[in-house]
């Protein structure tokens, strides 16, 4: 794959595109490594979770463009059902929602619901026909009880003639793409110790990679690779280094906080075939709010890490929020862009963090290039220093407080279980900044589009019990966050689409929304940016000016990213509609109108 070429010689690309589309019938049905690497060559398909391995979430299709998007109409919808809730104690979810990105290949769609049910639709004729539906039959109590943020599933992966999926209860499985029959299934994560799965798997060569969730319950995060043909595990790399491994010294307690220190991996990573590296984000350290429980920087939580794709060997890491007292995961996707930044050619990886900053790193080394505040409200640090560290980080202490008043803390309290003496008000809130709903990058505009959550929350710490056992399957938070729209200190939570110029790191524009932006983003070669809103709107913006060009109201809430595909010579835009996840459960009091949202799990598909 020649990335420079892809970005700079668009004319040549178009010719090659045409040729490849012709050749596609021959390739159809067999998703090879080459096809996944060069997915730009088949813009009518969407065969990688994040659009391509570089996580651009960019569609090369141009049929729907600025000049005609105003005529976009619903082509069809498909009700997925699977709305039932789950969990007993400590967590109960009254209903589940949709967070997935559908995959499309040759006029077939592969869609998941929160419970991991996979639906294959034949949409070649412009109307949906059910091919098969596979239900992995997740237990509705066991895993959801240790799931912080909803009964979620963000999609499947394709390999050869197979569809690879995950279940919230920690299973990874492969289906025959043609009839939906089960080929293999492996239990990879263990809900017995609070490990669950929500992120779409990532196929790399003949492996399927998966992360896990559970950093609110005392897990130690990892990424695992399985043989995609057998389901047998090939490697597993923990995000928190064990004794003797570099970085272990950043856990300075003497009771093994690293063993239950979080750093889960619940959003799909990116893959660079030339460097043969996987770049993945890691979640918060645990316990979330009692950072005195885990003195030290707590590597590699809240970090972007680079791993050797074949062996899982740790290559480099960059930590965004050391000794985090705010629950600022670095979980979000990592977007590869090869371009000139400040006059120098770099292979960059971009990332928009919960902590309110977007970062560009050199993805061969993890070296910092730029950092930009993309939220309006940010109070926890006075910017970043020249190495990308929070400027308010204090190298002379093991327990960070950052800017006074922003971090909750123990204060003078020492007794296990007692409420800490110091409350904090931080902006962004623990929701982020920007949460998992993915960004998009357009090679045409050179802009990086971030779905933003403008937020603040209050939090208090609580002295967490030592020698935590994740098998207790209880919250391991060391405190709690709280907010309500009526409290001036936290207030309402709103959002925006914020565009950043990758070549400089400067914010180029904002399109503001009444509610937090919980749908992800897709950019297109038609000069458009699509997204879904928490109160049900699907919108298209001008990719250059962020001006709204089209809107459709679904009457529900959206918590999933749009994608695009071609069938029968026609371009379609698809998005899953059904607000579940963390928002209705924990955060609606900052967005009171959303309390009335009725759950609905429906696929919407639009065309001209």
């Amino acid at each position: 794959m020649n990335v420079v070429w892809k970005v700079s010689h668009r004319g040549v690309l178009a010719v090659l595109l045409g040729m490849t589309v012709l050749a596609m019938t021959a390739m159809a049905g067999n998703v090879t490594h080459d096809r996944l690497v060069n997915s730009e060559n088949e813009p009518g398909n969407w065969i990688n979770h994040h659009g391509n391995y570089e996580a651009h979430r960019f569609s090369g299709l141009t049929q729907i463009n600025k000049s005609n998007v105003a005529d976009l109409k619903v082509a069809f919808t498909w009700a997925l059902g699977d709305i039932q809730g789950g969990g007993t104690a400590p967590v109960v979810f009254p209903f589940s929602g949709l967070e997935g990105t559908p995959l499309a290949e040759d006029g077939f769609l592969y869609i998941t619901s929160g419970w991991g049910v996979v639906t294959k639709l034949d949409v070649r004729g412009g109307r949906p026909v059910l091919m098969w539906r596979y239900d992995p039959e997740a237990d509705k109590d066991w895993a959801p009880s240790v799931t912080c943020c909803g009964i979620n599933n963000r999609g499947v992966a394709l390999h050869g003639e197979k569809v690879v999926g995950i279940v919230i209860d920690g299973r990874v499985f492969a289906l025959n793409k043609n009839d939906g029959s089960l080929l293999w299934e492996t239990q990879v994560a263990d809900p017995g110790i609070a490990e669950v799965m929500t992120g779409a798997p990532l196929v790399v060569k003949d492996m399927v990679l998966t992360g896990m969730a559970g950093a609110e319950f005392g897990v130690r995060g990892w990424i695992a690779a399985l043989d995609v043909n057998s389901g047998k595990e090939i490697w597993r790399t923990h995000t928190i280094p064990g004794p003797g491994e570099p970085g272990h010294e950043t856990w300075k307690d003497d009771y093994g906080a690293w063993k239950t220190g979080g750093g889960s991996t619940w959003v799909t990573g990116s893959y660079d075939p030339e460097l043969n590296i996987i770049v993945w984000g890691t979640a918060n350290p645990g316990p979330d709010w009692d950072n005195a429980y885990r003195p030290g920087d707590n590597l590699w939580t809240d970090s972007t890490i680079g791993l050797d794709a074949d062996t899982g060997k740790f290559l480099w890491g960059f930590q965004h929020t050391p000794n985090d007292p705010y629950d600022y995961d670095s979980i979000a996707e990592n977007t590869f862009v090869d371009t000139n930044i400040n006059g120098q050619y770099v292979r960059a990886t971009l990332h928009a963090n919960r902590n309110g900053f977007a970062y560009a790193l050199d993805r061969s080394s993890g070296k910092y290039i730029w950092g930009t505040q993309f939220v309006k409200k940010l109070n926890w640090t006075k910017g970043l220093d020249e190495n990308g560290r929070p400027a308010s980080y204090d190298p002379n202490t093991d327990i960070q407080t950052y800017e006074p008043g922003t971090a909750a803390g123990r204060g003078s309290v020492t007794e296990e279980g007692e409420r800490g003496a110091v409350e904090g008000i931080s902006c962004p809130a623990h929701t982020g900044g920007k949460n998992w709903p993915p960004t998009a990058y357009s090679p045409h505009t050179g802009l990086y589009y971030i779905p933003v959550i403008e937020s603040c929350n209050k939090a208090f710490a609580q002295v967490a019990p030592k020698n935590w056992d994740p098998a207790s399957r209880e919250w391991f938070l060391g405190g709690a966050p709280y907010f309500t729209f009526e409290d001036p200190a936290s207030g309402r939570i709103t959002g925006s689409v914020t565009a950043i110029d990758v070549s400089t790191g400067a914010v180029r524009g904002k399109w503001e929304t009444k509610f937090p932006l919980l749908g992800g983003i897709m950019a297109t070669a038609g000069g458009l940016v699509f997204t879904g809103l928490a109160d049900g709107g699907v919108v298209a913006l001008d990719a250059d000016t962020l001006q709204e060009l089209w809107r459709f109201e679904t009457g529900s809430g959206i918590n999933a990213p749009p994608m695009s595909y071609m069938a029968g010579g026609k371009q379609y835009i698809a998005i899953l509609v059904g607000l579940g996840g963390a928002w209705p459960q924990w955060f609606t009091d900052s967005t009171p109108e959303l309390k009335k949202a009725v759950p609905s799990n429906v696929l919407y598909v639009f065309s001209l």
């Binding site: 400590p90 919250w475 405190g479 709690a480 966050p481 309500t484 009526e486 924990w586 609606t588 009091d589």
Partner: protein
Amino acid sequence: MGMRVRIVLGIFSLLLAVCVMLPGVAMSQTSTADAAAELRKGKRLYKRCVPCHKQDGSGGPSYGGYAANLRDTQLNHEEIVAVITDGRRKKGMPTFKPILSKGEIETVAKFIQTQFKAEP
């Protein structure tokens, strides 16, 4: 809306109010069936409280705040109704005024009292 329609509607809602009030009178000799229905309704409404207060009302820390233990609340019925209605703005207890009717708040308050609150 025309004048006539409005008058007809007005009379209709008066009648409706009377009808709605009648069962209230009958409540004094509540049948077990009514009580069971009321309990079911309370349980359904309480689902909105479960994320923070837990299924058994014990509360504690969660991703949504540190909720009070409703099993040993010292509040009386009116006070419970007031907390549910107005919330405690600065402590993380949401207001339910915008989403639950007065009747629903009564029902869920009673549910807490009968199911969780330790009787003296």
